[in-house]
Symmetry: C2
């Protein structure tokens, strides 16, 4: 049984590096008997606070990103297909996650994996709540319940609160991983996350 | 003898991740019998083109950078002391590099290592041409010659040309490493650079 605080995995569903890290983080943590709590946020709020644009919209850098994520995915041997809309609107998916999280954390994580796979592995646009509900339905989650939930004021507020708390913790990009109070930004910091877990810091 | 094109190592002297990569890149390349050409540029020009700010000036992200580079340096076991000015003005250092490059590429690389070490290893501000000349003097380079060289129109133009050509090649950040036409951005891509050199791509 893990005795230490879970690893916090902050991400934005519309972030390809969030997707890439999501395919690795639980395996990394498991090697050190650590649990991972997945925390989707609306990265747009953090970008606004820091005056940044979504990377894909930045000239030159956006082109690099499209090339880099495909190369990175091949290295990790995970599927990646560029979605038609980047960044997609992840509001429905993120709200649905936090709704599920309160009912069943394991199911919520399965749902998040399903969203990531459909969006980045298969290149589907999941901006519409109905598209999100379709992914959820494969896990036995009622589409009607989900579509109602993502309109609930309490669920909307939960996502706002989680996003605000993440910014207070220093999250400004996706993925952002916090291990025992130490923050690591980027899918390319997973080796340092693993080293931190193995050594307790350096 | 290397038979393939040299690896291109683009960097900005004022970039801490450029410094971190500079302590590793030649060792990585040597394991695959490859040469590295160091190419300092004025990153400000690329940032202007892409509408970005120097990372250290971005709220929240700038604080992360200061923490991350010190942690990264400890991991690599290289010295790092935050300079009083970030980013410093690297114009004199970059011009001096290209002046030396035309005379003696090995000496130019030694000079670049000296600049990086003094700025990031010892935390010194090298914005003033006189401070740059002092580093150069330790390598037997005449301070008078250097101070005259960095004012020569041809040297000024050379740095502008190198910067412009780098942007045309897709460089938007520091470090940016090009291996056989494949670009990798960031000190945290050195493992992928090494893998690319070992396998010829994936």
């Amino acid at each position: 049984m893990p005795t230490r605080a879970p690893i916090e995995f902050y991400f934005e569903f519309a972030s390809p590096y969030g997707y890439l890290a999501s395919t690795q983080i639980d395996d990394v943590a498991a090697r050190y008997q650590r649990e991972v709590i997945w925390k989707p946020i609306m990265l747009g709020a953090a970008l606004k606070r820091t005056g940044q644009l979504p990377t894909v919209q930045i000239p030159i850098k956006g082109d690099y990103l499209k090339h880099d994520i495909q190369r990175f995915a091949r290295l990790l041997d995970v599927p990646l297909r560029l979605p038609p809309v980047m960044p997609m609107n992840s509001l429905a998916a993120s709200r649905a996650y936090w709704w599920l999280f309160e009912r069943d954390r394991c199911l919520a994580k399965k749902f998040a994996r399903g969203i990531f796979h459909a969006h980045w592995g298969e290149g589907r646009d999941l901006s519409a709540p109905e598209a999100v509900a379709e992914i959820a339905a494969r896990l036995g989650i009622s589409p009607e319940d989900l579509l109602a939930a993502v309109q609930q004021p309490a669920i909307k507020q939960r996502l706002r609160d989680e996003t605000e708390r993440s910014i207070e913790k220093g999250v400004f990009g996706s993925p952002f991983i916090i291990v025992d109070g130490e923050g690591f930004w980027g899918a390319d910091r997973l080796d340092q996350v693993e080293r931190w877990l193995a050594t307790g810091g350096w």
